[in-house]
């Protein structure tokens, strides 16, 4: 799983955005979504991301797995990861 090369990630306070230079599109995310994108950018696998979310955000593993799977499905549909 790799983040699209042209995608830039940036945060400021409570604003989390990604900008796709290929089609000049700005996406807004919540803190967890942005966290997942950052981890994908760092080259982590889905299982590694789920493990970190469980630890960092204090959620149950099954909940983290379900949310993470849904989120990845959405960003794949948007073409932000391949």
């Amino acid at each position: 799983m790799k983040l699209k090369k042209q995608l830039l990630l940036q945060k400021m306070g409570k604003v989390f955005v990604a900008y796709d230079n290929e089609n000049s599109t700005l996406y807004e995310f919540n803190e967890v979504g942005f966290f997942i994108l950052e981890k994908i950018k760092q080259g982590l696998s889905k299982e590694q991301v789920i493990k970190i979310i469980t630890e960092e955000f204090g959620v149950k593993k099954e909940k983290a797995r379900s949310d993470c799977t849904n989120f990845i499905k959405k960003i794949k549909k948007l073409g932000l990861v391949n």
Binding site: L8, Q10, M12, G13, V15, V17, Y19, N21, L26, E28
Partner: protein, 270 residues
Amino acid sequence: MQSKNRPKTYYLDLAGFNLKVEFAKGKLTLLNNLSYQYLQKFYIQRFYKLNHQKKRVDFEIKIVPESNQTYAIERLNKKYFFLNYEIDFDRKIAWLYSSSLASINFLFKEVLSFLLDKNGLLLHCSSVIDGKNKLFIFLGKSGSGKTTTANLLAKEGFRKFSDDSLVAKKENGRWFYYSPPYIEKEEPPLSISAKDANFYFIEKSSNTTVQKMKNTPSIIKAIMKQIWTRKGNVSENVLKNILNLVSNNNFYKLKIRRDGNNLAKKIYET
């Protein structure tokens, strides 16, 4: 020829950046001399001499008699402009020869955009400043009335700050704004700056109204359409600068009646 006695190196203040302009040795052609005359005529008041050498040089432009490269840039009106200079931004050196005034302006814009990547933005906007140094910046699509708005306010005692673009620069954690240090719509550079500004996204309407914008992502999206970047790409720094600018300033939606009735009053209500 008068040019025989001219200094070979100048230092130019480009929106707070120190730009070294050097005329290389070589055969003095008519076109080479024209570059000098243009710079002298339109930028002389912004030149200062070698005693400022201790100040860090941010960028160097060397004017040379000949070059092998030309660049074509497509403009909005579908016309092509061929620019006759070579750029090597990694080495912070640009080479320029036999330039037209338009080419010098393009070059300064490119250099500024390069220098601003770390801590600033080149915005596509018009702006006016009042007697208390408060800056009012008007953003919007082409044809939305940016110039008209600035002209209407100029008739009411505001001073025009910029017509088509503006430099926003972060210095020591604060945003400062510089009038464009190049010719815009045949107006020579003004060399003025401000540190207190409000931003207005304008649109034509039957009534003049102003409303504060609260949705940060929509402001970011709107600002992204109003920035000028080299090659049209947004870098991580530029995106960071946009987020910082948006989170540290006030943005408004300004609907303007054609005759500008109540315009000055409305912007002071913000």
